[in-house]
């Protein structure tokens, strides 16, 4: 390793900085795009991980004619007796379509007398709505996204729901919850179970589905088979299935994006090749002089490839830094919409910063070899320039 050569390479790069500027700019831009996409995907995946941990191991749905239908709540007692199951809880929930804003809210019915429920939301009540007597007035809790939408339509403290039977249900907004991960809870409304039943017209003996907790992962598969055996009309969804399908979607989307970027890589490759090939007369003369005074072909090659190395590293770090700023400080405007479903409320989430070696290695491998390979032939052409011309 010849330090003098490296030093010379750096200074000659600096001398011609503006000549390389377009290359550096485009290179940085490509890195920026790649890192941003991968960061958003990873960050979302991370949020999903947080969300998934809270999910039950199994969800039991009753099927009828291939479609989901209400499930008798009593089945929960039966399921709870299966060894390995720590709890089986019937849930009442559904989507509520708010026509004016053309959005769907997710409404979850919960029994406010449950200890777990109290523990989770009592703080909220204290903070947000200390004045409302939750026992006497029907109320609901909502995620930030929901509250924002309601605000737009001038619903401040209460909201009029229309039940399945067409009646009006006037509920008080008792609090807004903000969770660690807003991806899931942004469009959620929580209300006492009895109100949710009224809203969706679900009888007291029925439930939307049953969630099953199985603490030991090794037992999940067996429990699943037992439930299936007990209730052949049910569909049982495992947590890992949800996980895999989500992950696949994120991967698929970033993969698709990358595939779309391939023409951009090609263009980049061609541009580099072109730029690196088109030596100015001044540069040609310089190389000729170097060779005439004792530089070997290897030395010139090394110098040129070193230059590529510097350019790619510099641009790479540039792109990475800019992308981190864009994703985690500006919260990735525009680009993140690529990954978020448009069906429900668009969640107003903050991307969780993840500095992931994986993202960096992915982006590095995607672009740096492309650049360096594109400069090999031009570098060689430069290095074999006939030096005897400077003699004439």
């Amino acid at each position: 390793m010849n330090l003098k050569l490296i030093d010379y390479g750096l200074s000659s790069l600096w001398r011609r900085f503006w000549k390389r500027f377009t290359v550096i700019l485009i290179f940085s831009l490509l890195v920026f795009l790649l890192v941003s996409i991968f960061s958003i995907a990873t960050s979302l995946r991370q949020e999903l991980g947080i969300t998934l941990d809270a999910l039950p191991e199994l969800i039991v749905q009753k099927m009828s004619g291939g479609r989901q239908t209400v499930i008798p709540a009593e089945r929960a007692y039966e399921i709870a007796t299966i060894p390995g199951v720590s709890a089986a809880i019937p849930r009442v929930w559904g989507y509520y379509y708010f026509g004016s804003a053309n959005v769907n809210f997710t409404i979850i019915g919960q029994d406010p007398d449950l200890d777990s429920y109290k523990a989770k939301y009592s703080k909220l009540f204290e903070l947000n709505a200390p004045l409302i007597d939750t026992l006497t007035r029907p109320f609901f809790l909502a995620g930030q996204g929901v509250v924002d939408i309601m605000d737009e339509y001038y619903f401040k403290d209460e909201f009029f729901f229309i039940t399945s039977k067409g009646e009006i249900l006037n509920l008080v907004l008792a609090g807004t919850f903000v969770d660690e991960s807003s991806l899931e809870t942004n469009d959620v409304i929580i209300m006492p179970e009895i109100l949710a039943r009224e809203l969706f017209d679900i009888y007291e003996d029925d439930a939307t589905d049953i969630v099953v907790r199985v603490p030991n992962p090794a037992e999940i598969e067996i429990v699943k088979q037992k439930i299936q055996f007990l209730y052949p009309d049910c569909r049982i969804i495992g947590k890992d299935q949800i996980d895999t399908s989500y992950q696949n979607i994120f991967d698929y989307k970033s993969g698709l994006f990358l595939a779309l970027l391939i023409p951009a890589f090609m263009a980049f490759f061609t541009m580099i090749y072109d730029k690196a090939s088109g030596l100015s007369l001044e540069e040609k003369r310089e190389i000729g002089i170097m060779k005439a005074v004792g530089w070997r072909v290897e030395d010139v090659l090394f110098l040129k490839l070193l230059e590529s190395g510097f350019v790619s590293l510099f641009s790479f770090f540039n792109g990475v830094a800019f992308s981190f700023f864009f994703v985690y400080i500006l919260n990735a405007p525009l680009l993140r919409n690529l990954f978020i479903g448009a069906g429900n409320l668009k969640p107003a989430f903050q991307l969780i910063p993840v500095i992931d070696i994986h993202i960096l290695s992915l982006s590095f491998m995607a672009i740096v070899p492309v650049y360096i390979l594109a400069t090999i032939i031009p570098a060689w052409k430069t290095a074999i320039i006939d030096a005897d011309e400077v003699m004439r």
Binding site: Y252, G255, L258, A259, E298, I357, L373, W380
Partner: protein
């Protein structure tokens, strides 16, 4: 959904297409050079060929460089794909998701060795003033290129063969002694035999290296590689995981173990590479390489590193696993 659309795989493909293109150009030039290179000629053609040798060498050098990174990246990818393939906990499951898996890994590794040997020959060649090995090294490159084509086809077969819907076995099953597969059978060899053999080979290796016996050092390095991997899986890995039943060569590449696996394998592979390279170059090209010291250095570092795990475990807990 095929896994072919995941970003890692796309990047591996982009890289391969580029490498294929450049290596094809290199092999085209190499063919011409080995056909028509004649040092006694003073024709323009001869001078052009001489200049082309620089391009071919540079392409091959960069190919090796990129291949080393790609290989690490490939393993990284396998590890990551284990998230998508049901049942797989680490790269082992993904490797076994297709019958080609193991061969792809081995052939990739072998390919890096071959490119590495080429570089060493090239280095020797550039030290001579009369192109002693030029024709030979380009002939050898044609062989490497054919091998590279096989590598690419196998890799393609492998990746398109993985079905993310299919449940595979995790490392716990594959490296279970009850398993009747080849790897399972190998692991039936008790540690009482593997470990002493491993250390014995290492001692012999040092001895032959110090005596500069290139032939025996090379052969012993091959054994050292095999037994090193075997001992890694059946013995040392359990101390890295601190779980007696967890025998796996892949999990230690994960962030849970600070990616230490990359260092461990890099040491073992570099050490044995130089040992085998000395043998290869001597046998086929009569070149005496002075790389045995490097070989010892890397191998020694490997032995110290992997031995440290059980030792520290013993010091901390007062028992062996």
């Amino acid at each position: 959904m095929s896994i072919l659309l995941s970003p890692e795989i796309i990047i591996i493909f982009i890289e391969d297409v580029l490498l294929l293109g450049f290596n094809s150009l290199a092999v085209f030039l190499a063919y011409g050079i080995q056909q028509r290179f004649d040092l006694n000629q003073t024709t323009a053609l001869q001078y052009r060929l001489e200049r082309q040798t620089y391009l071919v060498s540079t392409i091959i050098r960069f190919s090796l460089f990129i291949k080393i990174f790609s290989f690490a990246f490939f393993i990284f990818t396998l590890d990551k794909l284990s998230n998508f393939i049901p049942g797989a906990m680490c790269g082992v499951g993904v490797t076994n998701a297709s019958p080609y898996g193991l061969y792809v890994l081995l052939i990739k590794l072998f390919s890096i060795y071959l490119y590495g040997f080429w570089l060493l020959i090239d280095r020797e060649d550039q030290k001579t003033e009369n192109y002693n090995y030029t024709v030979k090294k380009f002939r050898y490159f044609i062989a490497i290129y054919l091998f590279f084509l096989i590598e690419l086809s196998l890799q393609y077969l492998y990746l398109s063969d993985i079905n993310p819907e299919e449940i595979v076995s995790c490392c716990g099953t594959v490296f279970n002694a009850a398993n009747t597969s080849f790897t399972g059978q190998l692991l039936k060899i008790p540690n009482g035999i593997v470990l002493p053999s491993f250390y014995a080979i290492f001692v012999l290796l040092i001895w032959t290296s110090l005596r500069r016996d290139v032939i025996w050092t090379g052969i012993l390095n091959l054994f050292f590689l095999a037994f090193g991997l075997l001992a890694m899986i059946s013995f040392f890995s359990t101390y890295i995981y601190e779980l007696p039943s967890h025998q796996c060569p892949f999990c230690l590449l994960q962030s849970d173990y600070f990616y230490v696996g990359y260092l461990i394998y890099a040491l073992l592979l570099s050490g044995t590479f130089f040992g085998v390279a000395a043998l290869f170059l001597k046998l086929f090209y009569g070149i005496q390489l002075k790389v045995l010291k490097l070989s010892i250095l890397f191998n020694l570092a490997f032995v110290i590193l992997v031995s440290a795990y059980p030792l520290f475990y013993y010091i901390r807990n007062g028992v062996w696993l």
